[in-house]
Point group: C2
Chain length 183, copies 2
DNA sequence: TATAACATGTAACTAGTTACATGATTGG
DNA sequence: CCAATCATGTAACTAGTTACATGTTATA
């Protein structure tokens, strides 16, 4: 699906592999991510399939920037993919839950330490999402009114992050309390 | 990590690949799953590494059951894995969010249909988790008191499922309402 | 003086999915 | 009679990760 994600970003504007990585990290990072190396190999495949074309922009003292542009064929597959409904919930893999599931024989403190460590991480993550974005939507709407709806959906995805982190922390607090009592 | 999950289950008792699949689906299914084929190939690797041993139990009119047992070496790696803390939050991939993120140019009804479809799925999923388990913990504690703590952690994992589905549905309702107003 | 940002990519690997192949028994 | 359950596995594939390789410029 990374293919479709890259096409999605390139639909807005042509970008290099390097820029795509940054854009992803800043926007879809919390629900879709990829390593730089995978982005480069996927772009190569997309170009073989003629869903994107690239041209090299020479630079002094740096490797050429290879800028990718979506083609009509690419636009078509993107459109088809967007219209094809998601028909099953994502099966997420949660390492922490897996480990916890098998941790019944561990010492109380080992479990609590683990849970508190993860709690800190989620606390931090939570803060990242809380930058207010109604403003941001107003700004986009003022500058690029054609992106108004896009901006609302971007914010919906951000909201998911906010609610997810809140839920996660609530669950951790409840679980920490339970371990405290039962172990 | 499937390796560790399989070792975790085999620690409780020897099982076949087929049984491991069923056990996973019923217990860790919502945060860790695997296809039957992957389970078989992973068991083979675990046996090469001497972390499990297997023996064939002949059966009439069916393939032999190949029952896997965890070895001492396997127990050791399991233990090490359990003690090694998880130091970063899971990066989950959410196909629905990815698609939604790029759906700004879709028709209002296409988006709403998609969101409602997913809402149904999560509604169903949600019901699966809501079977009360305080009873179940009491039962385990009565029959196998040595598993009492395990049972509490299994229930914590289930609780995560409950809270996750609730959060997801809340977010969907909020997003559906937003699309209704803004599109 | 070191490290982050810029900028590209390949090779080897691990993980996971899909499709195939086989075949009896049980329940609706 | 058809589908589900039991029960094993392989082959080919896609997806994703880790490690390597190169080299400049700006900033702290």
């Amino acid at each position: 699906m990374l293919k479709c994600a890259l096409l999605g970003f390139l639909k807005y504007q042509p970008k290099t592999g390097y820029e795509l990585k940054q854009t992803m990290d800043q926007s879809t990072g919390h629900f879709w991510h990829a390593k730089q190396s995978q982005i480069y190999t996927t772009l190569k495949k997309l170009e073989q399939d003629k869903f994107v074309i690239s041209h090299a922009e020479p630079q002094e003292s740096r490797p050429d920037r290879r800028v990718y542009t979506i083609t009509e064929a690419g636009d078509k597959v993107l459109q088809e993919w967007l219209l094809e409904p998601v028909t099953k919930p994502d099966t997420t893999k949660q390492l922490l839950l897996l480990k916890l599931f098998f941790s019944g024989k561990l010492e109380k403190e080992a479990i609590l330490t683990q849970l508190r460590l993860i709690r800190n991480l989620h606390e931090q993550q939570s803060k990242l999402y809380k930058t207010s974005t109604p403003d941001f939507i107003d700004e986009i709407t003022a500058l690029q009114p054609e992106l108004k709806q896009d901006a609302h959906l971007w914010d919906a995805a951000r909201r998911f992050g906010v609610l997810y982190e809140k839920m996660y922390i609530d669950w951790l607090d409840e679980t920490i309390a339970m371990v405290d009592v039962e172990f």
